[in-house]
Symmetry: C2
Subunit: 659 residues, 2 copies
């Protein structure tokens, strides 16, 4: 096998470490800011430690099961996937909690410098996601030459990612909702006010949810897509190049991302978003150029039409661009959906929520049509392998997409630290400007992740059917087979069950936070006047415990249900489960992530002074909408992507036992 | 063909007319109450007139298309279906607007008498739905012997029903939300207070939405299920008895329903719900007994196992019972889901909405599993024909189910009239007690309707595949066919697009009502003090116009999209659309109808004095939840049932053109 992917991945990791050193060397600023940053880092570390201990137990059990029922390689693959995923989450979180402080301080030197630092912080996470992802897949395959074990590796990554997304999501949103309900609505103090006892928990949440959870999720998306494409290559072609091609394409894209990091600079009269988009545009163009010779050579060897395959890779890039545009339309303050929600706030909480729900539902239509168009074109051009090429290309941009996303929690925290440490107004204007853009970049990444899940799942479904056929049985997945129909229903209910459990967990935990915050305001004399300090640790403790307790059951659903469905009603039913969960999952996820971001920005739109601005009746209604949107976008919506993947991978692993 | 169904249907209609005469003879009470009731009836009639004019135009176009492309019979069938559906809606609404006044007056003579009158009012609608339904199907088949034209008849019924559900749903909820937002939240005046300028529009809405819309919907469900079972009988058996059997079973069930009307009496120490349940229980038992000899004879002639077929019909009854229990659990104040929402209201609007959304999502799980279990058992016992028997049996109870449902708007209006006419407290206690139960019976019917849609759609899908095969082509609907996959996605997005359009229509129209109500409170001097009368007509006018304008686009979606999908991507894609819309539709519908009812009852639970009762912070949050739940349960959730059926029927009608 070619050794390039291994070398490239190591290079990307080395580069990321180098950048980390540079960030560390930046100035840290005043004592108070350092103190706050330290508190955030410690809270985040403590949470991740506990989370990983809990997941570790589950991982050991699954390792033994995989070893016993499949192979030692599979067990080992699972552990490697799980360990790398955990590592990516931890590293991303550490960089982020370092960078936030430096960005707050860098605000002194002006917007361009602060932006550059914040983006580089995000870029480290981005490079680690793709670097470690490629290293795990190519390294493990190099050692074992065992594609099945790679599936188990994907399983490890996905499962950790479900846990991380859920646990982190429950943590961050319970803290956020709890802090806002009492702080903003009852006490009328601003976001991130140091008097709010839940403020540190809220800032920790940004890191464990948006940063560690997101990194684990995208790592999983990256790894599983590569593995799915490799398996497909094995099924469709006799030439081993088909297996390696995804790895080589990924290597090329990593180089493109590395170079494009330097494109992100704030030009004269340019918006922050434009500066960031230059990075993604650069990556897209360089990737397209770099893929040209690789696909040309591959097409020759695989005896396929170069033009058709290359067109599929361009479709992958076009889909990313499409998802970006659509999501921005539905979630940015500039366009009508967000303005509609803001306007509906004038007539109260109820109409705000109704309109937000409607916008969320509507936001699913174009992305799903775009996915359909992508599938249609790829199949027409080069069948399923065309779809695989498109989806690997789509994922090739992951490094830069993650960089943009990880930028979010860094600036969010920087702005929080600036507020809490009472930094001067000029500096806070800079951090606020950076923070605002973070909201949109976050929303965009979510649609990107779930859209890529749709493509990857389609490929995994095919792999599943092949795996069933390998057992010597011809199984048809017919829509008019009642077992398939039941499977579709059961699969369809998974995102709903999973979602309701996660939502309820947030609601319950947020309720606990509210009671604790109210208690502190009541019992600690002088807190509201700023004369006494709140007990931050209490709130951190409440959410840490609750998040870990509440994440376990829903995270195990995508493992248990496919096994039950397959064992009780056979492979047809399980096939239905795979597709059923993809269909409802896609809609639930997109409606929640886009709807949530739209609510958030509708609130921000009003805070800019529209419809009577902050403190008005409309603003209160908008805060309610934002509160509802929080668990939508940052807990449930996100976690559905890895959940769908876990279902698919479990199906692939148990296929042999179903005959 | 046997003539019995025709005779039975005419008998049921005659009986309904007789009961109407009796209701008309009941006392009407004081001048003020009559005046209000008259205003409601006139508003409702004016709305229906406009609605039917608009739908009439669409119907004429479709009649011509069906005539030209299929046959004159098909065109005529469509018109008959549409006309009967419109007639059922109109008649149900007229009875309801007569009975509401009588029930308010009957409250003088105590609860048992008022209950009996209200239920009989509902029973008239119930008998008309099944009587006219059976008359339309058996009469039209008697005249034409053309099953295809019967499909067109179902199309007419379903399409009117989508319009009626949507238009009525937008009307009723825009008026309700608008009235509550200003009246309850801003002005602090009670529900149905005569000072509220939107109160008449709100009461009219109950009739055009819950009554006319519901009757049209259940008529459609009934007709389409019968037609689907008849078509299946033709495909599966050579004996024509298989075609008539559904009609004969329906006739038996109508007799059972007629007899059971007399079971509904308030015994000593009995709750109102128990009295109503005696009616449904009686129908179930009598139906089961009556089906015994019929299915025994049919099984002999069709050479099938009697026990297996009979077991399937019992499964149908068991499914209705199961849906009742599950829905009651999720929507009644007695159980934990509603209490959980009420408790979450303590911490504010945001947590109330989050918890309500979570409860709605969770409420989908058991009904869907029950549907899966039903499908599994029926197929195991007697294949697809078993499922047809189960679904016909399920629908056989429709007469009584509609009676319970139609009871809702009657008591709702009676309670409104009592409040507005200032009737004495003892009388209002009676009407309030009756009204409260109406909420639960309404929620139960909705789950029943959507569950039956799932079964009927499965049968219609099979009919569609047979129709395709009849064209001489073997088409397989494989999950790994990309056209099927795209179809599933496109079908899946329909309930989302449809839902978002309807939600937004309610939000927009409610906003207009709010502005008008605010204007009147502002401009009409002495309104708040009760010295001046509001201009009720203005609000009625606003919602009438808006509802009709906004219903058209979403109602045409289920006609246009299947045609596009089938023509562009072929029969495989259209097959995917059918199943895809069923899957997401089922979840969207149940989560909305049950979630909405749970929100409503959580508010009522707090109003009973829990969590500091009316006027408390928790109560305000609960009102917000109820407001969000309103369009959920009474506009979107409901309309999805007929929408799914329209998609299926359109597919069946265009199948021949796709090869």
């Amino acid at each position: 096998m070619p050794i390039h992917p291994l070398i490239v991945s190591l290079f990307a990791i080395a580069f990321a470490l180098l950048m980390t050193q540079k960030i560390k060397k930046a100035e840290s600023g005043s004592g108070k800011a350092i103190e706050i940053s330290q508190a955030i880092r410690e809270g985040a570390k403590a949470y991740l430690k506990r989370e990983y201990q809990t997941i570790g137990l589950v991982a050991v059990v699954l390792f033994i099961l995989l070893w016993k029922f499949i192979s030692f390689n599979a067990g080992a693959g699972f552990l490697v996937g799980a360990a790398f995923s955990a590592l990516v989450g931890y590293a991303g979180m550490m960089v982020s909690t370092q960078a936030n402080l430096k960005v707050a301080e860098a605000a002194k030197k002006g917007l361009p410098f602060a932006l550059s630092l914040a983006f580089r912080g995000g870029a480290v996470t981005g490079l680690l996601v793709v670097g470690l992802g490629l290293l795990a897949v190519s390294g493990f395959y190099f050692l074992t030459k065992d594609l099945e074990a790679l599936v188990a590796l994907g399983f490890g990554g996905s499962l950790i990612s479900v846990f991380a997304r859920l646990g982190g999501g429950i943590y961050t949103k319970a803290a956020d909702v709890g802090a806002d309900l009492v702080g903003k609505l009852e006490k009328g103090i601003p976001e991130d006010d140091p008097r709010n006892p839940a403020v540190i928990a809220d800032l920790v949440g940004d890191n464990v949810g948006d940063c560690a959870g997101m990194a684990a999720d995208l790592f999983e998306t990256y790894v599983v897509t590569l593995v799915a494409a490799m398996i497909l290559g094995q099924f469709l072609f006799s030439n081993t190049l088909a297996i390696f091609l995804p790895l080589i394409l990924a290597s090329v894209a990593i180089f493109a991302s590395l170079l494009s990091i330097f494109f992100v600079r704030l030009g004269k009269n340019e918006g922050i978003m434009t500066a960031l988009y230059k990075g993604i545009l650069g990556t897209a163009v360089l990737t397209a150029l770099g893929f040209f010779p690789v696909i040309k050579k591959a097409a020759e060897i695989l005896e396929k039409s170069f033009l058709r395959l290359y067109a599929c890779s361009l479709i992958g890039i076009a889909m990313v661009a499409g998802m970006f545009f659509i999501t921005e339309y539905f979630t940015s303050k500039k366009y009508s959906p967000v303005k509609l929600i803001a306007k509906a706030s004038k007539t109260g909480h109820g109409t705000n929520v109704i309109t937000g729900l409607a916008v969320g539902m509507r936001a699913t239509i174009l992305p799903v049509l775009l996915i359909c168009l992508g599938i249609l074109l790829c199949f027409s051009l080069a069948d399923l392998y065309g779809l695989a090429i498109a989806s690997v290309t789509m994922l090739s941009l992951a490094g830069m997409v993650v960089a943009l996303d990880a930028y979010g929690p860094i600036t969010d925290n920087a702005s929080g630290i600036a507020e809490m440490a009472g930094l001067p107004d000029e500096m806070r204007e800079v951090t606020d400007a950076l923070d605002e853009v973070g909201n949109t970049t976050k929303a965009v990444t979510k649609t990107y992740a779930i859209a890529s899940a749709a493509l990857a799942s389609s490929i995994l479904f095919y792999a599943y059917t092949q795996e069933i056929e390998k057992q010597g049985l011809i199984v048809k997945f017919l829509l008019n087979d009642y077992r398939v129909l039941i499977g579709l229903f059961v699969g369809g209910l998974l995102p709903y069950l999973f979602g309701s459990m996660a939502m309820q967990a947030v609601g319950k935990t947020a309720g606990k936070v509210v009671e604790e915050v109210r208690r502190q305001f009541w019992e600690i004399k002088g807190l509201m006047e700023g004369e006494a300090k709140p007990e931050y640790g209490k709130c951190v403790d409440i959410v840490t415990k609750a998040a870990i307790k509440e994440m376990i059951m829903p995270a195990l659903l995508p493992v248990i249900v496919p096994i039950l469905a397959g064992v009780i009603l056979g492979p047809q039913c399980l096939g239905g489960v795979l597709i059923g969960s993809l269909i409802t999952g896609l809609f639930v996820a997109i409606s929640m992530t886009s709807g949530g971001a739209a609510w958030d920005n509708a609130k921000k739109y009003i805070e800019q002074g529209n419809f009577n601005g902050k403190g008005s009746f409309a603003h209160q209604a908008a805060v309610t909408g934002d509160t509802v949107g929080d668990p939508y976008k940052d807990t449930v919506g996100l976690a559905i992507n890895p959940m769908i993947k876990v279902i698919n991978i479990v199906a692939l692993l148990i296929a042999r036992f179903l005959i």
